[in-house]
Every structure is written in C-alpha cells, then in structure tokens.
Amino acid sequence: MTILQVKNLSFRYRKGFSIDGISFSLKKKDFLGILGVSGSGKTTIIRAVAGLVTDFSGRIFLGFEREKLGISFQQPSFFDELTVKDNLAYFSRISGRHNRNIFEKNYAFLIDFLELRRFEKRPAEKLSGGMKRRLDIAIALINQPEFVILDEPVGELDPILRKKIFVLIDILAKRGCTFMITSHILYDLERVCNKLLVVNDGKQMFFGDSSEFMDKVKQTFKTKIAFSSAEDLNKMKAAFKDSRLVFSANTATMIHKKDNMQIKELFYFLEKESIKVSEVRVSQPSLEDIFVKMVSNEERKE
C-alpha cells in the first residue's frame, strides 16, 4: 500500500535555490533515508511533504491522515518558555489525536527512554542541546504517529544517544511506523533504511533500495598517497595530469572502484620510477567524496 508518492516535485526559493524533479514513493512500513550534503534540498522535500510548502509544482500523494504525521525538525521546535511536560502535553493536545490514556502511556515511555524524566519540570530553554533534540523527537512521537519525519535527528547527539535514538526508531518501525529520515551521514541511514533518496544541489541523484546504493558505495575506495618529496609529487603530477587523481600539498587522492585500471597504473608507475611514498591509505570514501565523484561523472557525461 503506497503511503506517500511524490511525483516530479519542484520548488524554487525567491533567492534562487531550487529543488527540481524529485520523484519517489513509499509503502507502509518503508524506511526512507534522504541523503545529501547540507543545503542539498532535503529539508525542502520534508517541508513539501509536511505541507509547510504549498506553492510547489508536481504532485504529492499522502496515503495517511495528516493528524498521524509526527515530525521532528532540524532545529528543535517547541516553546522554550514551557516545561518539558507542558510542551509534550500542549503539542499532544493540539495535534487532533489527543487521548489522555495514550498520552500518559507514551509520555511515560518516551520520557524514560529518552532520559528526560529528571528535567520534565524544567523550562525547555534551560535544557542542553542534546536534551532539546530528545524533547523534539519525543514531541514528534508523543501521539503514536503512523508517518514520522525526522530531519537530521541525531546530528548533535553523542554516540550513545545516537544509538539510543536509533533503537527507539527501530522499536517504532517494528510497530508499523513509516519513517522518513534525513541525514548527511551515510552510515546512520545504512543501519535502518530500506529505501534511499540521494539529493545533491536540489536534484535527485538516486532513489531505490538502500542495499543497491550501499553496494555501489562499498565497491568504491579512496586511495590517498603521501609523498616524501616535492620532486616525486611533481613527477606524479606530470604523469597523471589528465587522470582523476586530485593533488594537494604533498598528497594525491583518487576515488575508484575495486578493480580500477588507473590505480593499477599508478602503483606500477610508483614502482617503475622508484618514487618514495611516506603513506598509502585505502579507505571507504565519505558521502561528500561520493557526491563529488557523482557530480564529476555527470559533468563528464554532459
């Protein structure tokens, strides 16, 4: 059963930034991760789905009632002047799905799970950044939503809390909740998402199963070579000037697939020219590295 369908979504801000041609669909219990660097358009997609942007072009189909939407914004959104308990009670009341028993039950669960019990009578403005993030997530989940949107939910949290949030998300997902999470950290999403939407500069780079994308990512490596002398570096620059090799002060870096010919040529050249290297590091590339590669591929195609 399709619970969300977005077709050819486009939106332009007055200052020029826009998202263009975003299309994806989700079924019930799907877990969509929206991946993209900061400012790539993730939040705009969320705004459109949440109904905070109305003047977009394209079509958004919601297969659930809006009252059943729970949302946690990138910046904690609640009344700083109210206490933790008052905020949760207030937003539960105005959600349109308030039920005293459900609220009490959820409240007790969330406040304990997110370790906010000690601060329930403290005004929200006096909470730390992490606590505020937890409170915002608690507000999003207080009324047992069917569709949850979490915008960068773990960005400012320490690893323990980050883990805890994902455990909570797991619990809710198992209860049948559909999730839509944005993040710029690939491995946060890798653990929980079954669908992935990758956006860059307002454009959709990828939408599909997360495993498909992760396979692509896992076959990609980042090789970084540090040179001992500038002479050797210059030799390399001269030899590989038209390659994908990116040079910095004393290093050369390349993102490549597992059996890439160029990397083989590189090592062959190093051996042949007896170039001394101080360090060779092979690692998984960051999301940004992948984007850079994707973008450069796109440019080459053009």
């Binding site: 008052d86 937003f91 105005i94 000037k241």
Partner: protein
C-alpha cells in the same frame, strides 16, 4: 491549555516583564495622581471688577455647588493663583455681565494646560453649573421670544385682514366714483336749444302783430262797417248776402281779435315773466356747469387718491404677505445668545508643571496601551517561537489560535483593569450597577484594542517594532482625543477626527459612568454601535493578517534553520575544481 501556554510564554519573556512593569507603573501613577489631586475640594479663583445680577448669580451658584471660591482684586493675581497651583481655574468676569443681545463680552477661564485632565474635569463641573444657569436663561429667552413671535404673528394676521377690508372698500369706492364720474359726464348742462331771446322777441312781435291785427281788425271792422254803410248808401246793387257775410265776418273777426287781445296781454305778461325766469335760469346753469367741473375735478382727484391708496394697499398687502411668510421661516437671529447666553473663553496658563490625571482617561490609557501591547506581544512571541512552527502543522483551525491569543490578552488586560476598577469603586463608593457598567465598557475597550494589537503584532517584524507601533497608536489616539492637547490646539483638519476616535468615544462613556454614575445604555447606544462596527472591521483585518502573515513567517522560520550558504559552498567547490583543472592544463 493554550491560554496557559500563552500566559507562560508571556510571563517568562523579558520584554513582557517590561510591559508589565510599565503597566503597573501606570496603575501606581494613576493612583498616586488620584490621591494627590484631592479632587473633593476644588478651589476656584475669580476676578470681578464690576458686578452685575448675572455675575452674582453665577458666583452664588458656584459657591452653593461646593466650590471654594477666592476673589482676587486683579486679573493678574487670579491668573497667578492658577499658575502657582493654588486653584484649578481662574474665572475672569467681564464688567456688568448680563444676558442681552447687545452684550458681547466673554467670561474667561484661565486654566493650566499641564493639568488638563483635572482642569477639564473641574471645568466640566463648573460648566455644568453654568449650563444650569444658562438653561434657565435660555428658557426665559426662548419663552419671551416665542411670546413675541406669537404676538407679532397675530397682529400681522389682523392687519392683513383689516387691509383686505380696506382694499375691498376702496375698490367699491373706486367703482362708485367711476360711476359718478360717468354719470356726471352724462349730465348736459349746456343752454337748451330753445332761444329764449328769440322767443321773447317773437312773442313781442306776435303781440305786436296781434295788436296790429286787432287794430287792423278794428280798422277792418270799421272799414267793413264803413263799407257796408257805404254800400247801402251808394245804392249799389250789392247782394245782401255779401254784406251780411262781411258784416258778420268783421264782427266775428273783431270779436276774435278782441278776445285775443286779452290773451295777448296775458301772453305778453307771461313772456315777460318767462324772460325774467329764463334770465335767472341761465345764471343757475352757469353755476351748475361750474359746479359740475368742480365735482368732476374732485372725482378725478378722488379717483387718483383711491388709485394711489389701492397701489399702496397692494404694496402693503404684499409686504404683509412677505412678512408673514418670512415669519413662518423665522430665524432666531440671536440664536447664540439663546443657546449660550453667557459666552465663555478658555485661556491656558502654561507655567505650572504639576501633573494631574482624571480617572476615566487614565483608566482608558491603561486599557488601550495594555491591550495593544499585550496582544501584539503575544502574537510576536507565538510567531517567533519555533513552537509556533509546530502549531501551523496542527489541524486546529487558525481561528482557534487567533482567539486563544485574544483570550490570553484579555485575561492579562482585565487582570490589570480589575485592580484599577476595584480601587475606583472603593474610593468613589460606586454602586454595583455602575461597577458592572464599568466592567462592560472596560471589556469592550479591551476587546477593541486587542484586535488592534493583534493586527499590529502581525504586521510588525519584531517585538521592538510591535512595541513601537503600539506606543505610536496609543499616542495618536491620545493626541486626537483632546486629552494631551485641547481640541483648539489641534490642527483644524484633524479636529473633526476626534468624533471618530474610539478612544474619545470610550473615554466619554467611562466619564459618564465614573463621574456621572450612568447605568443605562440610552445615552451611549450610538457610541457602542460605532465601537461595535469598528471592532468588526478590526476583527476582520486582524484575522486576515493573522492568517496571511502566519504563513509568511513560518517560511521565514524555515529559512532560518538552513545552514549558511550551502549552495555557495558547492559552487565554490566546483569553481575550485574547475580552476584546478585549468591550472593543470596550463602546466
């Protein structure tokens, strides 16, 4: 819940604390002013150079009304007493103040503009005494005038009727005169055609002829006798019948003539007497002719006079008709004397600095400023808070949030107003009805100004701007109410706006309730109808702005949360890479 949330937001916010402190200060200020003014004892100075019955009556009226009066020998001294704060008002009576059409001098009120509220409160009381006095004079003057109008009107009607009679008489007289004139002209007083002289002469000739005939007849008889005898003597053969006929004829002829002689004599006598009588008659006809001429001239003169009289009458009649018509739409020329038998002038004295405030004005200032500030602040607090973003996702209608702000604002305002009202009620010993009226007007004011505050909050970008707008609106309302500046000091084009100023309308209502103890709506019905219309307009505008601006502000909140210039970073990244590629190529 939502009201509790609004109140929590309000009380925890620093800006609102400032507003609350200001509001409290206003209350304190009002209370201190109220006690310091000692409005129960009112000192009024006056200067009276030459007293009159009217001025004495006014002074005794003021004294009877509880004002403490101080007479000053000079006008300067009287004015100084106001500027020195010894009295609230100085009354300068003109010499021999009287109520008459020709009297144009004014009664001067010297007042302290820096204490304008108290001064106007007292002025109002003094004026109410004057108005009572003026009212009596007005009634008297109006009574006199109406009586005079009635009299004149009656006399005019009578004169008109009389004139109509005279006109009718004159017209009939004119007709008679014309008849007379025609009859007179028809009288022939010329000599008769018979020529009496000829008649006399003919008569004389006739008599003479008769006498001649008689003599001739006599002669004839004698001749006939002679003839007969001659005939007989002559022996002529003459027929006897001829002689007999001749004899007989001469005899009968003679007899006839003889008989006619007496007649002739009689005729002669008669002719003589006729001639004499005729001569006398001729003289009389001359006299008649003369008299006819004189009568005709008199008639002509009379006709001319009647014509003139009729012309005059028609003019008078027209004048009377005009007068009557004029009288029907008669304007009371000395209306100002009737409406305001005593003309007054208010002269400000500006030296004093001690500030006094009347209760209704202070109360309304408190209500207006608090309502504007509280409601605009609540709108801003809700809108600028990130919690407000979540509220936009709620499925509660916008009206729900709108009225929650209104209700929260009203709770805050009425909370403040209640303290003030209780103090006023206790101090002035107002009845429960008056208190209820006061509460009703306060609620109306709070609602009206809260609508305005919500509108201000929605169109303002920040708390500071909303605060500024609220203060500006309050000041504009105050300036256009004659509270800060007397009406005379406001530019003429703006003076008419005072009537439409809701602050002034509500202040007048509060004044009626607090000062005069009004408990009914009779006098204030139109005021409240006007306030109701204004409130409806403001409700529409404020809700429209609430719905529209809420959307816009939400998108602004979202923009805030975007990290700075991400796109630029990407572009810069591209640019850097491109530059690097170019450099490479160059090398």
């Amino acid at each position: 819940m939502i009201i509790r949330k609004n109140l929590s937001i309000f009380f925890r916010n620093k800006s609102s604390s400032i507003i609350m402190v200001l509001g409290t200060f206003l209350i304190l200020f009002a209370l201190v002013s109220f006690f310091s003014e000692d409005s129960q004892v009112v000192h009024v100075s006056y200067f009276l150079n030459q007293s009159s019955e009217t001025s004495e009556a006014i002074i005794s009226l003021l004294a009877d009304s509880g004002f403490i009066l101080h007479e000053f020998p000079t006008e300067e001294g009287c004015v100084s007493s106001v500027s020195e704060g010894k009295s609230k008002i100085c009354l300068s009576f003109p010499d021999n103040l009287e109520i008459s059409e020709d009297y144009n001098e004014s009664l001067f009120f010297y007042i302290d503009t820096s204490r304008i509220n108290v001064v106007y409160y007292i002025l109002d009381q003094v004026m109410s005494e004057f108005s009572e006095y003026s009212s009596r004079q007005r009634h008297r003057l109006i009574g006199d005038m109406l009586l005079a109008i009635d009299n004149v009107s009656g006399m005019l009607d009578e004169a008109e009727a009389q004139l109509r009679e005279v006109s009718k008489d004159l017209e009939s007289a004119q007709e008679s005169l014309l008849d007379l004139q025609s009859e007179l002209s028809g009288i022939d007083v010329s000599y008769p055609n018979l020529n009496a002289l000829n008649f006399s002469q003919s008569a004389s000739s006739l008599i003479t002829r008769f006498r001649q005939a008689s003599s001739n007849s006599n002669k004839f008889r004698r001749l006939s006798q002679g003839l007969i005898s001659a005939m007989e003597d002559c022996g002529c053969d003459v027929n006897q019948s001829y002689r007999d006929t001749l004899n007989q004829t001469s005899v009968s002829h003679f007899e006839v003539l003889n008989n006619s002689d007496s007649l002739i004599k009689s005729l002669s006598a008669n002719v003589n007497s006729f001639t004499k009588f005729y001569s006398d008659s001729t003289k009389s006809f001359d006299d008649i002719e003369k008299m006819k001429k004189s009568v005709s001239s008199d008639i002509k003169g009379l006709l001319d006079l009647v014509d003139d009289a009729l012309t005059e009458i028609s003019l008078v009649s027209k004048a009377l008709k005009d007068s009557n018509a004029e009288f029907e739409r008669l304007e009371i020329r000395k209306a100002e004397k009737i409406l305001e038998p005593i003309s007054t002038s208010i002269v400000p004295v500006t030296e004093s600095s001690k500030l006094g405030i009347a209760i209704p004005s202070v109360f309304l200032i408190l209500l207006a400023s608090s309502s504007l500030l509280f409601s605009s602040s609540l709108v801003i607090f809700n809108r600028d808070s990130r919690g407000g973003l979540r509220e936009t996702l709620s499925h509660k209608p916008r009206l729900f949030f709108y009225f929650s702000i209104l209700a929260s604002s009203l709770i805050l305002v009425i909370g403040q107003a209640l303290v003030f009202m209780l103090v006023v009620v206790i101090l002035l010993s107002l009845s429960l009805n008056v208190f209820l009226m006061l509460a009703f007007v306060s609620a109306c004011s709070a609602i009206l100004f809260s609508f305005g505050g919500i509108l201000i909050g929605n169109i303002s970008d920040s708390k500071e701007m909303a605060f500024f707008f609220s203060i500006v609106v309050t000041l504009i309302l105050l300036v256009l109410s004659g509270e800060i500046l007397p009406v005379e000091f406001i530019a003429e084009p703006f003076q008419s706006l005072i009537v439409y100023n809701p602050y002034e309308v509500l202040r007048a209502s509060l004044h009626r309730i607090i000062i005069h103890g009004a408990t009914g709506f009779d006098e204030m019905l139109f005021d409240f109808a006007y306030i109701g219309i204004l409130a409806a307009v403001l409700l529409f505008l404020s809700f429209f702005s609430f719905s529209t601006f809420r959307k816009l502000r939400t998108s602004r909140l979202y923009k805030k949360e975007r990290k700075p210039a991400p796109k630029k970073t990407v572009k810069e990244g591209k640019a850097v890479r491109k530059r690097a590629v170019k450099d490479k190529r160059k090398k």
